[in-house]
């Protein structure tokens, strides 16, 4: 197991280096930072002096090493547009995105899993049929359209929920939270449903397929023959065995929630990382783009690593398999 985890960690480091190289290439080859920082009329000497002081006259490998070193310390330079340190901008926006993703994940799990179990156990009930049809539409519905439709119904027509922003927030240290005020909570409803809908339908369909598969196995028939109660069969025996794929997909879904937050945040003008990134793309604000890229990649890599490690705790067979596999290779 240790061998496996170390192998996965090395792979993660490799991914991070590739991503760092891409963001570094952004800096080096897309536009000239000196041109971005100085005016047309500044003397050549000043530009050269600035170039030397930023280390831009050094060979590329040294510049890259310096970039990685700074990035590890959380220093991504200064935004071309806002003229503020990039890390400060990101720290301001980070809580907004995380709270949105957190609530959307909760919706996806607490609606998706029960709905999946229900549709698998009661295949022919009208509710199951409605849920199945709804999930098909949910999967074909682009995130931004979900958001627009919700705004149209609940903000424009019914006028019950806010359509943009986070409402009032409360600062706890550097973390600003919208969980503690009524307007903050109300503002969360539409964006989190919008963001969570796709994952909810995906998790529901997955749990349903897996449950149906497991319910057909001899092991469930045997449990029934032993006279166990339905409840115990459904949850202790069947559901437990659907968890491996569900955990994988849920992990990947949290990752894509962070990415799809870009769209939700644009629709609802939610002041999070995604909106920051989209504005950076629009303004060609390279330091912000690079920092977002590296940070998102880091979150993805950490999530994937966590999912891999979780397997060992959920599925005992994997532990045995890996032990044999790693024993064979060493």
């Amino acid at each position: 197991m240790l061998y496996f985890i170390i192998q996965r960690m090395l792979q993660s480091v490799l991914v991070m280096l590739v991503v760092a190289a891409i963001s570094f290439a952004l800096f080096s080859y897309v536009g000239d930072p000196i041109e971005a920082m100085t005016g047309e009329d500044d003397p050549i000497e000043l530009k050269q002096q600035l170039r030397a002081s930023l280390g831009l006259d050094q060979p590329i490998p040294i510049q890259f090493a310096r970039f990685v070193g700074n990035a590890v310390q959380g220093d991504f330079g200064v935004s071309y547009r806002a003229r503020q340190p990039v890390m400060q901008l990101i720290a301001e926006r980070f809580p907004a995105t995380m709270e949105l993703v957190f609530v959307a994940s909760l919706i996806a799990l607490f609606v998706g899993i029960p709905a999946g179990i229900y549709t698998a156990l009661r295949r022919d009930s009208p509710v199951s049929y409605a849920l199945q049809t709804g999930s098909l539409i949910g999967i074909s519905m682009p995130t931004f359209l979900t958001g627009i439709l919700l705004i149209l119904v609940f903000s424009v027509w019914l006028k019950v929920l806010p359509s943009f922003g986070r409402g009032e927030t409360v600062d706890i240290g550097w973390w600003s939270t919208g969980f503690l005020t009524v307007s903050g909570l109300k503002s969360l409803i539409l964006p989190s449903i919008t963001l969570g809908l796709f994952s909810t339908t995906l998790i529901m369909r997955l749990v349903r397929t897996e449950m149906l598969e497991v319910m057909r196995t001899d092991y469930i028939k045997f449990a029934r023959a032993r006279g166990l109660r339905d409840r115990s069969i459904n949850f202790r025996h069947a559901f437990k065995n659907t968890l491996v794929p569900v955990v994988t997909i849920t992990g990947m879904q949290v990752g894509s929630l962070i990415a799809f937050a870009i769209i939700t945040e644009t629709v609802f003008q939610w002041p999070g990382l995604g909106l920051l990134f989209i504005q950076a793309v629009g303004n060609v604000d390279i330091p912000v783009m690079a920092a977002y890229l590296v940070l998102t990649a880091l979150m993805f890599v950490v999530i994937n690593l966590a999912v891999d490690i979780l397997y060992f705790f959920i599925d005992p067979r994997l532990r045995a398999d890996r032990a044999v596999a790693s024993g064979a290779t060493t």
Partner: protein, 319 residues
């Protein structure tokens, strides 16, 4: 797989045609006829795609002909609502352009961009899959590691980054001109992995079969073996992925255009139309958003249903 009814004397195109003919002969058609949902999906997709492609012929107005557009008719609601004009069945936008016509032209752009992007992913992915599967070794591990890394990130994020980087490089030029090309590249590049993986695994299977060994023994070059013998036998699953990918590509384009990094208002796609409509949502002009939105959902849903059905119908395990 080396079916005897494939005429080996004909060229690549003839052979591909045989593959499709073979697919037509198995119970694909029967399975199609027995599923009403699939028939409806096929009709909806067919009508949407054909009418979009024929937009210049059937659209009641030409939304890009400035002479026929008049501000007098701006912001008219759909014809069946009070104040609507029967000349504009789905209402008009802020410039007085007929919504039905802009939607037809917009779907045309969306479908063409989607199809071009799928074609690009297909070519990239199939080439990578063939090379990785047949070549093996270092090429294989490098290509598949790249695929693994790319799969950890959602395709939309990769497309967004690609788009951002390329438009950053072109920022000093007129990027509107390149927008169409850039968005096709961005979506195409972000979706090649699935093609590559599927083609690689079927190449690995085909490679070990006797007909490939026989071809190699008789001195056929590797390239010819790949293109004439292995490629046609991997096309079944590729067709399924291409169908599902068309839905994904159309959605991806719409999303990028909605975010404002895709197609500019001068070449509106469905996504651009929804973005423009969204800005006037609060003025009560719901038809500017809802109609392009519904068109998009119908298009994606019907193509998705067709893809699902094709996957199940071609899957021998489910038959």
């Amino acid at each position: 797989m080396s079916a005897p009814d494939v005429d080996t004397t004909r060229g690549f195109l003839g052979r591909t045609r045989d593959i499709f003919a073979r697919m037509g002969r198995h119970d694909l058609w029967l399975s199609f006829r027995s599923k009403p949902v699939v028939i409806v999906a096929a009709i909806v997709a067919g009508v949407l795609i054909l009418s979009a492609l024929a937009a210049p012929l059937i659209a009641p107005h030409d939304p890009y002909d400035m002479a026929s557009v008049s501000l007098l008719y701006a912001e008219l609601p759909p014809a069946w609502v009070d104040g609507g004009d029967p000349a504009f069945p789905l209402g008009t936008d802020l410039q007085g352009r007929d919504m039905l016509s802009t939607i037809l032209y917009g779907s045309r752009t969306s479908i063409l961009v989607g199809a071009a992007a799928v074609a690009l992913s297909l070519v990239l992915g199939v080439a990578a899959g063939l090379v990785a599967g047949y070549g093996g070794g270092v090429v294989d591990s490098v290509l598949m590691r790249i695929a693994d890394i790319q799969l950890t990130f959602p395709a939309i994020l990769i497309a967004l980054l690609f788009d951002g980087v390329v438009s950053a490089i072109f920022s000093h030029g007129s990027s509107d001109q390149y927008a169409l090309l850039v968005i096709i590249l961005a979506i195409g590049v972000s979706n090649w992995v699935l093609f590559a993986r599927v083609v690689r695994s079927s190449t690995l299977v085909e490679k070990g079969k006797d007909y490939v060994k026989a071809a190699r023994v008789t001195g056929v070059s590797s390239l010819a073996i790949l293109l004439k013998h292995i490629l046609p036998n991997t096309l079944g699953p590729v067709l399924v992925i291409a169908t599902i990918n068309l839905a994904l590509a159309i959605l991806g384009e719409a999303t990028l255009s909605f975010l404002g990094v895709g197609l500019p208002p001068t070449q509106p796609s469905l996504g651009t139309l929804i973005r423009i409509g969204n800005e006037y949502l609060f003025s009560g002009a719901w038809w500017m958003t809802i109609f392009p939105g519904v068109t998009l959902i119908l298009l994606v849903l019907s193509v998705n249903l067709l893809g699902d059905w094709l996957r199940d119908a071609l899957n021998p395990k489910l038959r």
